[in-house]
């Protein structure tokens, strides 16, 4: 019989390797080694568990691992970078569901062995509660991101009271389960938690999606940690704590970047309301929007010494990143310094724009975060905004009545000339009008992001 210390030691090594995996992400150069370290950690942990002499039933294990491994690998190889937020949400849901499945299985196996106690049942209750909310919450987030249904917030009267009531009911049933060893109560509380996951996430939408994705990332970690407690497995506890705190920190960063409190995001109902069509266009013209032709923009860019490009989710939707890279190279060949400015909440999840630009082979050392680049706009000749809106709205700084007031923005308006690519005059995700569009140094270039960038690149090459 192998000493349990050996397993504990291997789990410790795996936990350390996971930590290295996360630590590697502090720099793109060390990131791949970090990921490899984490893979080694995972292989060690699984191998060690399988070597446990008590582990039998290899048929089920091998079948599950092969099937799951094939499905996971195929999805991971085929997924478009544009769709990363959906994929991540889908993965969160699997962790949540796995936690519920493991909770039920753990109860049944202990019940059959007659080794159930109150502490274990409390842990199982929490595991199933968090896991179920993570599961259905992530399914809803996935659906919103995949646009299976409207991403706009769904709100109805008494929503928060209903959620509160379901939360209380889940805990009451948890108490019944723990003190009376009542398994049906456990199943009912799991079902209530599944419903709660749906009702908690449907009111959150639109601009708050990056927070939702981060928050569910955190929940999936806490679900794994709770599983670790039920199994007294330190590696699950360590990993759950790492993932849980990671998601919590990302949620915090996202909230801060939108100047929203975590509570107000959870309560939901912000964004995605305005559906202004043509009348908006007329109003805008009345207020004096300047329109620019692609050639005018190309002329200004070709003669600039520094151009800053600000991508937003519109770039992802139009898949314009490759055309933007062409533009960048055309400008660089004329001696123009080109930099990219990324707002923390640009896109549908943290870091989404960076991945899309990397996909198009834009080198990461010309891509800058908000704090790094904001004081460079005043020396930029051209700011080119593509598919971004709220994150460059100067009202967030100056108009106290604006819903965006207080949100940190990219100071694009400080550039000598600002070009904004938009498909139409529709308001941004927040539904708030953007005074940047009406400023004297701003011109709008209307059209699909991809075709505008392709034309710009062609026009720049000709010069």
């Amino acid at each position: 019989m192998i000493s349990p210390d050996i397993f504990a030691f291997i789990y410790l090594v795996a936990g350390v390797l996971f930590t290295f995996g996360l630590k590697g992400l502090s720099n793109p150069e060390s990131a791949r080694n970090g990921n490899n370290a984490a893979m080694v950690g995972m292989a060690l942990a699984i191998a060690a568990t399988l070597f446990d002499p008590s582990v039998k039933g290899f048929g089920y294990i091998v079948a599950g691992m092969i099937a799951g491994g094939i499905v996971g690998t195929i999805i991971a190889l085929k997924i478009q970078m544009k769709a990363m937020p959906q994929l991540v949400a889908a993965f969160h849901s699997l962790v949540g569901l796995a936690a519920v499945v493991v909770a039920i299985g753990t109860y049944l196996s202990h019940h059959n062995q007659g080794t159930v106690n109150k502490l274990l049942m409390t842990e199982l209750f929490l595991e199933s509660f968090i896991g179920a909310i993570t599961f259905t919450g992530s399914v809803i987030a996935f659906g919103k991101l995949q646009e299976l249904f409207r991403s706009a917030p769904v709100a109805f009267g008494g929503q928060h009271m209903l959620n509160l009531a379901m939360g209380v009911a889940a805990f009451v049933l948890g108490g019944v389960f723990v003190f009376q060893d009542n398994f049906p109560a456990f199943l009912v509380l799991t079902v209530i938690s599944l419903v709660l996951g749906v009702t908690l996430i449907i009111p959150i939408g639109g601009a708050d999606m990056p927070v939702v994705v981060s928050m569910l990332n955190s929940y999936s970690g806490w679900a794994a940690a709770a599983t670790g407690f039920t199994l007294n497995n330190i590696l699950l506890i360590i990993t759950g704590a790492l993932v849980g705190s990671s998601g919590a920190i990302l949620s915090y960063i996202m909230c801060k970047a939108m100047n929203r409190s975590f509570i107000s995001v959870i309560l939901g109902g912000f964004g995605g309301t305005a559906e202004a069509a043509d009348p908006a266009m007329t109003n805008a013209r009345a207020k004096g929007v300047k329109e620019a032709a692609v050639e005018d923009a190309a002329f200004m860019m070709a003669n600039a010494s520094k151009v800053i490009i600000i991508p937003g989710y519109g770039m992802a939707v139009a898949q314009a990143q490759h055309a933007i890279k062409e533009m960048m190279e055309a400008m660089q060949s004329k001696g123009v310094t080109v930099k990219f400015a990324i707002h923390p909440v640009a896109g549908r999840m943290p870091g989404h724009m960076n991945v899309l630009l990397a996909e198009a082979d834009v080198p990461y050392d010309v891509v800058f975060e908000m704090e790094e680049i904001n004081n460079e706009f005043s020396t930029a000749d051209v700011a080119f905004i593509i598919g971004a809106n709220d994150v460059v709205n100067p009202d967030a700084k100056s108009v106290k009545t604006s819903p965006l007031y207080g949100m940190p923005i990219l100071d694009a308006y400080k550039a000598k000339v600002v070009f904004v690519n938009k498909r139409s005059m529709r308001a941004g995700y927040s539904g708030v009008d953007n005074s940047l569009f009406y400023m004297d140094n701003t011109s709008l270039v209307f059209g699909d992001a991809k075709s505008v960038c392709e034309k710009l690149a062609a026009s720049l090459h000709e010069r």
């Binding site: 039933g57 049944l108 794994a224 704590a241 080198p363």
Partner: protein, 114 residues
């Protein structure tokens, strides 16, 4: 299960007759300290890599596979084995999918050629 046996093997138990440290307390200690480690490590992650960070946390949350393996292993009935099988299946998608997609993303991050 694992910690139970560690405790039973007397490694963490002091002098004879001293009160035993419960596996729950040991787990709690590990949990709290790991949260602090996570806090400090994650704040050092560059914002440019926040998407790969999420993908790799997806992958390592797949460690819940260990729980599913132990359930299958307990051999306490058909239903338990089937639940364990589903757990293994779901967690495997995360493990493989998470690591592969993270690797794919990280391979795209390149420096400027000079």
């Amino acid at each position: 299960m694992l910690l139970d046996s560690i405790l039973a093997s007397n490694i963490l138990v002091g002098a004879e007759g001293a009160a035993e440290l419960s596996p729950f307390m040991l787990g709690l200690i590990v949990f709290v300290l790991a949260c602090f480690v996570g806090y400090h490590v994650i704040w050092n992650v560059t914002p440019a890599l926040h998407t790969p960070l999420m993908a790799v946390t997806n992958a390592i949350s797949g460690i819940i596979i260990v729980g599913a393996l132990l359930i299958v292993a307990s051999e306490t009935g058909k239903w338990v084995e089937i639940l364990g099988f589903f757990g293994v299946l779901l967690a495997s998608v995360n493990v493989f999918g998470g690591f592969v997609v993270t690797n794919r993303m990280l391979a795209m991050f390149k420096k400027q050629k000079r």
